[in-house]
Assembly symmetry: C2
Homo-oligomer: 444 residues x 2
C-alpha cells in the first residue's frame, strides 16, 4: 500500500512562518512562545504578580551565622517562598507567598523522570549604605524565560517573575540579611518544574514556578578564596591551597554541551551529567573541570562558570580579553560574563591607573593557542566568573598530562582583581549604578 505523503504544510496546525526543516527546536520554541500563555491568546491566565496572596509563617526560624556549619550546608532557606502553579487548561494561578517547606510531588511527576526543570541563580546584597540590592535581575528573568522554553515549560512575562523575586526579597531580606551584615548576600533561586503526573514522555501539562532564598557561605569580600565551599561537596573540597583555582581540562569522554543541544540554557540537564567529572576532578586534586569542545579543544566554560583569558597578541603585541562566543548556543549567557564584557569595554580599552589597555573579544580559542601563548610569555591571566564563583582567578590548567601555570599577581590576576572590585562596588552600593536594583524591604 502507498503510505500517505505528508508535507509540513499539510498538517493544518499553526506552524509558525519561521518553521523550516532546518530548525526544529528553535521553531518549536517560537511556536510555543507565540501560542503562549501570556494571556493574549486562548484566554489563559498570564503570570500576574499583582494577584499574589500572602500567608506568613507562624514558625519563624533563627538566622544562621554567615560562616556557620548550617550556612555551609546550604540547606537553610529563609522563612518564606513564592510559588505559582500553571496548568495547560487554565494558565497561571495566582502566585502565593507562603511559609518555606516541602512540596508534595507525585512519584510519576515529569520533573522526576524527564528533567523538565530550569532555574536561575542570583544574589541579594546588603550594601555598605545599608540598602538591599539585586544585580541586573531583569537579565536573570529574561534568561529564565529562555530556559523554560528550551525545556518545554510554560512561558511567562519575565517582568512578573522579577516582581515575585523582589516581593520575596522585600519580605525576608530585613531579617535574613540584617543591616549589620553589610557586604554579605543571600542566594536567590527561581525555579520551574514540570509537575504533571502523567508518565508519558510529553510536554508537562502542569508546572510549578517557585522562588526560594538560601543562606550561602559568604565569600564575596575575599579575593583569595580559591574554591568556594558553595561548590564543594567532594573529597578534596574543604582543603585549602594557594590562591587561584586549579582546573583540569575535560577529556574526550566528557563534553558539557554540543551545538544543537542546550548548553546555553540554565536547565538541570546541564548540571547532573557534569557531576561525575567534577567529582573525579576533585578526587585528583583539582577544583573544577575546564570544559573543552571538539577535536580542536576549544575552551568553553570552567565548572559552571564562564571563562576568560587575557592574552598578548602575537603580531600587534596588544592585550586581548577573550571569552567564548554565544552563537553556537553551547555557552551559558552569564550575567556576570556580560557585565565583565561591558565593564571592560567601558573602562579597560584605554590604559589607566597603571593598567594596560585590553581589546575585548568574544571568539573561539583553543588549548593549543593557550599553550603557545604560555610558552611565549603571552598568557597573561585567566579567570572564571559567574554568580556562585563571582570572579575567581585561575592559577593552573592541567591539560593532557601537563600543567600550565597561569601567571598571578599575588592572589589574583590584575584584570580579575580590578573587574571584581568594580562589580563589588556596584553590588554593594559603593558605586551608584543602574545595574544595582534597590529593594525596599518590609520591616513590619
Amino acid at each position: 500500500m502507498a503510505p500517505v505523503a505528508i508535507t509540513p504544510e499539510s498538517s493544518g496546525t499553526t506552524t509558525p512562518s519561521t518553521a523550516t526543516a532546518s530548525s526544529l527546536t528553535q521553531a518549536g520554541i517560537k511556536h510555543m512562545q507565540a501560542n503562549s500563555n501570556t494571556g493574549e491568546t486562548a484566554n489563559l491566565a498570564p503570570l500576574d504578580a499583582s494577584k499574589m496572596t500572602t500567608e506568613l509563617t507562624k514558625s519563624p526560624r533563627a538566622v544562621p551565622e554567615p560562616m556557620s556549619d548550617e550556612t555551609k550546608a546550604q540547606k537553610t532557606c529563609t522563612d518564606h517562598m513564592v510559588t505559582a502553579k500553571w496548568t495547560v487548561e487554565q494558565g497561571w494561578e495566582a502566585p502565593e507567598m507562603k511559609p518555606y517547606g516541602p512540596f508534595s510531588i507525585m512519584p510519576s511527576a515529569s520533573v522526576l523522570h524527564y528533567a523538565t526543570e530550569c532555574f536561575e541563580g542570583l544574589k541579594l546584597y546588603r550594601g555598605f549604605d545599608g540598602r538591599l540590592r539585586l544585580f541586573r535581575i531583569s537579565r536573570n528573568c529574561a534568561r529564565m524565560r529562555k530556559s523554560a522554553a528550551r525545556i518545554a515549560l510554560p512561558d511567562f512575562d519575565p517582568k512578573e517573575l522579577e516582581k515575585l523575586v523582589i516581593a520575596l526579597c522585600a519580605r525576608d531580606g530585613a531579617k535574613w540579611l540584617p543591616k549589620e551584615r553589610a557586604g554579605s548576600f543571600l542566594y536567590i533561586r527561581p525555579t520551574m518544574i514540570g509537575t504533571d503526573s502523567a508518565l508519558g514522555v510529553q510536554r508537562p501539562r502542569e508546572a510549578l514556578l517557585y522562588v526560594i532564598i538560601a543562606c550561602f557561605p559568604d565569600m564575596s569580600q575575599s579575593l583569595a578564596t580559591p574554591a568556594p565551599p558553595a561548590l564543594n561537596g567532594e573529597p578534596n573540597g574543604e582543603k585549602q591551597h594557594a590562591p587561584g583555582l586549579r582546573l583540569v581540562a575535560s577529556s574526550e569522554d566528557t563534553i558539557r554541551a554540543w551545538p544543537g543541544g542546550f548548553g546555553y540554557a540554565k536547565v538541570g540537564a546541564n548540571y547532573g551529567p557534569s557531576l561525575v567529572a567534577q567529582g573525579e576532578a576533585r578526587a585528583r586534586g583539582f577544583d573544577q573541570v575546564l570544559w573543552l569542545f571538539g577535536d580542536e579543544s576549544y575552551v568553553t566554560e570552567a565548572g559552571a562558570s564562564n571563562f576568560f583569558v587575557v592574552l598578548r597578541e602575537k603580531e600587534s603585541g596588544k592585550l586581548q580579553l577573550i571569552t567564548a562566543p554565544l552563537e553556537e548556543r553551547i555557552i551559558l549567557e552569564g550575567v556576570t560574563r556580560a557585565s565583565v564584557l561591558e565593564l571592560a569595554k567601558e573602562r579597560l580599552t584605554s590604559a589607566h591607573d597603571g593598567i594596560e589597555a585590553v581589546e575585548v573579544v568574544e571568539r573561539r580559542y583553543t588549548m593549543t593557542e593557550l599553550i603557545e601563548a604560555h610558552k611565549e610569555g603571552r598568557f597573561i591571566e585567566a579567570f572564571a566568573c559567574g554568580t556562585a564563583f563571582f570572579v575567581a582567578p585561575i592559577a593552573l590548567i592541567h591539560f593532557r598530562g601537563k600543567n600550565i601555570e597561569v601567571p598571578m599577581d599575588g592572589d589574583s590576576g590584575v584584570y580579575a582583581r580590578v573587574i571584581k572590585q568594580w562589580l563589588f562596588s556596584i553590588m554593594y552600593g559603593k558605586q551608584s549604578h543602574e545595574w544595582g536594583v534597590v529593594v525596599e524591604e518590609q520591616t513590619e
Copy 2:
C-alpha cells in the same frame, strides 16, 4: 608568586589505575563504583531486598479499564510502591513496600535543579497461560546501575533492584492485571532521584530509589497502531492515520546526544531537552523525530526508541538488518534492541517461511545511504523498537524538505511483523523462553 604545581598523582586519593587524562567521566564512574556502597567497603549498608518492610494500603483503589480515559491519562498507578532511601553516611536503608502516594520533597532538592535522576521502563505481562511475566528484567536493572553511575547517584546491586521490582509485581499484579486480561500489561518504572536538599552543585548526599507501576493504554496486540497514545500529549497526537509511524528527521539545531555526553544512559537529561522538537514534529503532522547526528547525518534513534532499517546491499544483493552501534555511547542500549538483534541472528540469517535471510549489522549509517537505497529500490523496511513503542513500523521519513516513503507490506514491514510476533510470544507465554521471567503473584 609561583602557583603550586599539581599532578594527578599528588592528590593522594584513591584514583583508580584506569584513570588517565583521557577519561574523566568513565574513570570517575569506575572510581565511584569501586568505592561504592555495595557494603564491601566503608561499612555502608548495601541495598538489600530481604530487609524490605511492608505496609499495605488501607484505601485500595479501583482498577481502570484498559482503554479508559483514566488509563490513557497515564496518571494511575497501582496500590503500592517500593522505596529505598540512601545517604552518603549510612548507605541504603531498608526498602519499604507502602501505599502509593506523593513524596515530600524539599524545594532545594538536587533532583529539582540538577536533573540527578534516572529511570527504567519495563512491562509486566499477563500471559495467555494466565501467568505474570517480566521480560529480561536483569538487563533493565543492570542498565539502571549504569545510568545511576552516569548521573552521580549511588551504586547498588542490580539483583536487589530486581527482587524489589518482582516483589511489587507479585503484590499488585493479581489485582491490577487480572487473569482475564491475558495479552495486557502494566508499565513498571524503577526510578532514582537525588533528594539532597543542599543547593550547591555537587553529587547528592541523599537519594531515593523507588519503583511504581502505572496503568498504560494497551497497544501490544495491534501491529497497526501508528502512534501510541502513551506518547501523545501533543496537538496532533490523537489523530488516526494510515499504518506506520511518520518521522521527521532532526535538524542541525536539534541533536539528541553527542560523544562524550550521556545518550547511552536512561537519565532525565536525555528526555526533557527533546520535548520541544517532539512537540514541533507533532505540530507539523509527524509522529516522532528521527534523531540524526553530525554533518554526515548519521541515523541514531527515533523518538525515545532504537531504530532499525532493512537495506539490500548494493554489491552482494543480500539483505542487511542495520542499527546504529553502541560504541560512541550516544545510543541507548535498548533491551528490545538487543532482543531484536539476538532473535534476528538466531532465526533470520537463513531463509525460511518465505522470508529472505538477513545479515545482522550494528554500524553507522547515514541519511544519504538511506536516500540512495530508496531511489534504487533497496530500502526494504524500517522500524522503531523499545519498551513503550514495542516494535513500530515506519511508513515515512521526512528529511530536508523531502519525503521518503518507506515500503510497507500492509500494516507493517515483513521483518518488523515477524520479530514483533516472536517477542510477543515470549512476553505473553505463548512460547516458553528464558527471557520470560515468571512472577509468582500473591493472592491473599
